[in-house]
Symmetry: none
Subunit: 218 residues, 4 copies
């Protein structure tokens, strides 16, 4: 039974209105951050009365959580594909890169919000939700690394935990780099100004690094 952060009233309004509210709210939170975002402004921009807003969401936090949750649901769906796909460890990792990229392209603002959430100041509740997802992917990496070690393709000395950490770091940073302007600039600084628009090159470069890092020496 899923935890709900919005009130039932939010489900009863027209899809158009619901989406308008979410869109405006996501934009407000992503561009100003949780604290500076204003419910009153969101209400005005979404052409909803303030009282209405509070019928849909008990509090500012509830609205924020609803957004986080919605974003994770979408990401979860996307990850389902990786979980059930065929192929070896590296196929999956590569798929993860492309899915992350796809996700950030479609939902850039949501991704910016996630970066915010990782901030010390945001409520631990938000943190916990946000970690749910990581639990799934970490297990995914672990299992497939072990499996590959069993098959003899990945080096025995490799520590699955530490490598999972590295892999997710690499993927997450690519995602961040496409989500926030700051990280985009940073990526351009390292990988070159022309990296934008050449994502396959970026990913194949990283995959090459990963494969050599993990595969048994030939």
């Amino acid at each position: 039974m899923k935890e709900q952060f919005h009130e039932k009233a939010f489900e009863k309004i027209t899809a158009e209105k619901r989406e308008r509210i979410m869109k405006v709210a996501i934009h407000e939170f992503s561009s100003k951050g949780y604290n500076a975002a204003s419910i009153n402004i969101i209400a005005r921009k979404a052409e909803v009365s303030i009282g209405g807003m509070y019928r849909y969401f008990k509090s500012k936090e509830a609205l924020f959580m609803t957004i986080l949750d919605w974003g994770y649901e979408i990401l979860e769906e996307a990850l389902e594909k990786v979980i059930h796909m065929e192929g070896d460890l590296f196929d999956r990792i590569e798929a993860m890169f492309y899915i992350s990229l796809e996700y950030v392209r479609q939902y850039r603002e949501i991704n910016q919000i996630y970066i915010d959430v990782s901030t010390e100041s945001l409520s631990s509740l938000a943190n916990r939700i946000s970690l749910k997802m990581e639990g799934i992917t970490s297990k995914l990496y672990h299992d497939h690394i072990r499996e590959a070690q069993g098959k003899g393709t990945v080096r025995k000395e490799v520590n699955p935990g530490i490598i999972s950490f590295c892999l997710d770091n690499l993927i997450m940073m690519v995602q961040f780099s496409y989500a926030s302007e700051y990280y985009t600039e940073r990526m351009k600084l390292y990988a070159g100004d022309d990296i934008l628009g050449h994502e396959e090159k970026l990913i194949s470069g990283i995959m090459d690094f990963i494969k050599h890092g993990l595969l048994v020496d030939r």
Copy 2:
């Protein structure tokens, strides 16, 4: 000629007072985030008059920038060691990990603030400052990777830009993982609960991955 974010008056007060203000401000910004932090509270806690605060810093933003700047100066000093150290690429990378770790341990709160800054919502000016540093390290990686390729130790196919990006991502994420509670939890999820306190193991695991990822096949 360095950009200054504080007023000259700030330089004229006693070092003790200056440090007290910085300490209190850093704590306030790191624990509450930029928006929720309050200049009035900082002034009160630092036992400085509000008027004084505004004589030292034109605005809340200026105080924030001063903190960022100060943090980067310290980091810069630390990085100087890596730039001038002897040893090969991998020695330097490893040194970077340890220096980052040392830095985050000594200046945890500053590091939390940097995480905040990478957020979309904080002014692009802050972003620019924060990127200064990355410029230096990216060049460092680039140069040494090329050098190592020249010597024949690192594989020719390796793209120095992309790998620089990967290396810094790995280092930065270790740093984040020790700075913010959120990222600490995440690291434990991937690398195991007992990773805290076993930093050499973590770093040697990552270094092993990096070396295999870059070295020519034996």
Copy 3:
């Protein structure tokens, strides 16, 4: 022809629903006070639609008045007994004490609301209702004091008006003392912590005082 504060619609609903609304409303008003009480919350808790609420009562005030009225009706019934009982002045006074006690025990929350009403801030209309009752009892005292003076049992110098006032004050304060926590504490301060549960002692002590105060010297 009784003044009605509710709409006719309120009489057409089932007794069960009517009582549920009254019960919830009494609880809300007594625990939060008139201003802080919320019609919307009362509606929700009583499982009545807001629109319904406003069909039964024109306004928050009308609901409040209905409650007051209902409470007085019950008290009135109880007082009927005293009016028609046999016995002398003092029997009646004592009966008043016991009836008040019984009333406050059964309808504690209503009594708390009456305390509220005596407050300057509540509308003068509410005040008028609340005074209806006092008119009856004051006449009761007057008449019986005069009668007793006629019979020679009560001292001639006694001013019936002033003594009525005193008697009702003593009775009302006992009632208040059992209705509100504040007045309970106060009573314990004066009459001793162990007075609760020893109401006969309290009342007989007061009656002794009253009798000596009024009776002709023997």
Copy 4:
């Protein structure tokens, strides 16, 4: 060391301003009750900025408590006279009536606020303060009743606790009757419409009742 409910800043402003704020606040609280009173309105009427208000008082509650406290201090001073006066029990009781009357005439609105405070809904903290005073007077009555019993003037059977309770009830109700319109109406109902302006008659009537109620039979 007295508990302070206002901020130090409140002591530093001019007496004129301080009194203006108190006067306006007392009027607002007494006429609307705690919940309906608005700090913003108080600020506007007292010609103080909202921010200013909050520099003087941490919260609405703090302002309210400051008022309560101030009222009690004045009452306390007045009661000092009774404590240190010469005369027997009845002289003191009579003095209490006159002091209460004087107090309510000078500080009618404060007295209305006290009536409010005894309401169930107001914070227990306010209640505690408000009970401080009663502690003093209850002891006063107790002691003097016992003393009079020792001297043989007051009947032995009289229970000092219960009688203290009665005495204070009678005094308090006179006070209430001059403080709130509701209680004034009620008093007129019992003691006659012409009782206003004939306070000596009222008090001597009550005193007669009390004396006969307590003195040994002659």
